[in-house]
Amino acid sequence: MLNFKRILLLLIVLSTPFLLSGCGAQNKLLVLNWGEYINEDVVALFEETYNVEVSISIGDSNELFYSRLKSGTTAYDIIVPSDYMIEKMMIKDLLQEIDFTKLSNYDPVGNPYLQGLQGIQATMLEGTEDYYVPYFWGTFGLMYNKDKAGLEQALETYQWQAYFDPAYRPTDTKTGMYDVAQFAFATAMIYNGIDPNEFSEDNLDLAFNTLTDAGFVMWADDQLKKSISSGSLDLAFVWTGDFLDMFYVALSEGQAYDSVSYNIFIPDTTLAFMDAMVIPYNARHVDLAHEFINWFLDPEMAYMNASTIGYATPLQNTYDMIVDYEGDDQWLNDWARAYMEYYEDTPDFTGIPLANLEQAQVNSLTLMVNNVKTN
């Protein structure tokens, strides 16, 4: 009798965690997103409308998204990877096609994607468009110090030449480069008029010469924009979204739009990226995931979401709402102006997303950049 009791007790103790794990998680939409990349109020509205819980995990790189998806410990319903990672996931059969008939707000005619974004989409593998819905996109630009005489004109006239060739910019312009080998290589390729994703030994040598001649005084990441704002650097290659974050903070601290000492120039051809929502193959709440994607295709919701994030909205109607603001709100006016200047909606713009290089290629790029730095 006693033994029976003991066995029963043991069984209960052993099974509790599993019984516990049964409850709870079932009716939750599981989202894997970048940090601070969503307006939580918009999510709260979604939760209220559909009476569900949305649980957002965050990751800091596309590679992490991939490994999380691959390990399968959590069946995410929505992931927000970038362009090249979407291609990789699609090729590895990790995604399911999006059923566009379920997206009532999807309207490629009345509310198309912005032209810059369409340019990025055009560079992607054929067939990928069935697997994602764009979430945000952005560009890279050349951030510069407005106080440096002649620099602004040089950039507007010569664009990449002013960045890479000291002869085309004012003397003593201190330039900096993002400390990521692939970025350095890709920009050097754009300057030379070559596809930035075309990797070859010749291009490697060319990039080495270009980068050496450019005479960068600083290789850094976050520090670049801080150095420009403090005036110790004049020109650098940065994320436009990064610049805007800093710019918006300066505006919110009371600086006037034109009195900020730095600005960014977006060349006609530059690197760009797109983050898009995808539904993994093992998602368990496929219908709800579609509703979630649909929610962010609603121009009003996209507007709310874009108001807290420095990257560019994909939707034409949302863009128009931001840009066409007419009123007295200082911030909304500044925002409209910033959007018009930095995410200009024009067919002349070409944004090229970076491809996913093999490890060996990344290594030789890193080696090349290290040689540039030590020279």
């Binding site: 965690p17 599993f18 516990l20 794990s21 049964g22 709870g24 998680a25 079932q26 939750k28 599981l30 989202v31 970048w34 940090g35 601070e36 990349y37 939580e40 999510v43 709260a44 649980s55 957002i56 995990s57 965050i58 990751g59 800091d60 790189s61 992490l64 390990s71 399968g72 410990t73 959590t74 069946a75 976050d222 801080k226 994320w239 979204g241 990064d242 974050d245 903070v249 368990r284």
Partner: protein, 285 residues
């Protein structure tokens, strides 16, 4: 009588070190202060940063407490903090109860067997976190076909249990050794049942060890990253996992500094309690 000059102490070889001693004393104080300062400079910087109104690390703007308030208005951060505490508190309480029982059980073995079991107990302590994390993830993922939602609270708490339990056992066992080996027999002779004897006699005798084990387990659990990183899922991210994922494209939300400062203060308080418990325990023994 010849008047010999009175010899001074110096002539006997005495050297007056009083001045030097003073200098040494001052020097040692300065040196200790300097070393302590160096040790704690990171924590001090963090605390300063948590009251800095500018999110720029290089620039101290004005004093503010807004990050402390914002900590609970950023939903994902609030959620992470909640998860951290839920996990740690649940795991610690289970570990304390189980660990005490296990320690009493181990103590009842003869010395040789006890030593063997203690070796097994120490392996999870000494094993690299990353090995523990990956192996636990592997074991849990074997259960995925039966329990598709197992990753999350269940696995995280079980994993925390896995590495906190040995700490409890390790701090309870020495206390048991200090008690009279005949205590249990005496209690049984006087007519209480074995469970009651455990509850009323043994546990009060080792309560200081239980508490110190509990506090140790709690501090271990609340700041764990590596094991949590591999064993969590379904959106149940604790703070360290959240912080790690946040440092991506954007700079860190300063509310993290605020929470870290609070956590440091809390850890200090716990360590203080732990110390005083140990001291009180020594006096009684």
């Amino acid at each position: 009588m010849t008047n010999y000059p009175v010899a001074t102490v110096e002539e006997y070889g005495y050297k007056d070190y009083r001045v030097l001693q003073k200098i040494y004393k001052i020097f040692s104080i300065v040196a200790v202060l300097f070393i302590v300062f160096l040790l704690y400079i990171s924590i001090i910087m963090l605390a300063i940063q948590s009251v800095n109104s500018s999110s720029d690390v290089l620039l101290f703007d004005t004093f503010t407490l807004k990050w402390y308030a914002q900590m609970f208005s950023t939903r994902s951060l609030t959620n992470a903090i909640k998860v951290t505490f839920v996990t740690s508190i649940v795991a610690t309480s289970i570990a304390t109860v189980l660990g005490t029982l296990i320690a009493v059980g181990i103590y009842s073995y003869e010395k040789k067997t006890r030593q063997k079991i203690m070796l097994l107990n120490n392996i999870p302590l000494l094993n690299a976190d990353i090995v523990t994390g990956i192996s636990l993830m592997f074991v849990f993922s074997l259960l995925l076909p039966i329990f598709p939602y197992i990753f999350g609270p269940t696995t995280l708490i079980m994993a925390h249990l896995f590495f906190t339990l040995p700490y409890v056992i390790l701090s309870v066992l020495p206390k048991l050794k200090e008690t009279d080996p005949n205590l249990m027999d005496a209690a049984l002779d006087l007519g209480v049942g074995p469970y009651k004897a455990l509850r009323k006699i043994i546990v009060p005798a080792i309560i200081a060890g239980i508490f110190s084990g509990m506090l140790l387990a709690f501090t271990m659990s609340i700041d764990d990253f590596v094991i949590s990183y591999f064993t969590t899922g379904n959106g149940f991210d604790n703070l360290s996992v959240w912080v790690y994922a946040s440092i991506g494209r954007k700079s860190l939300n300063p509310s993290v500094y605020a929470f870290s400062t609070l956590l440091t203060i809390m850890t200090l308080v716990i360590m203080f309690i732990y110390q005083s418990l140990m001291r009180r325990g020594k006096k009684h023994a």
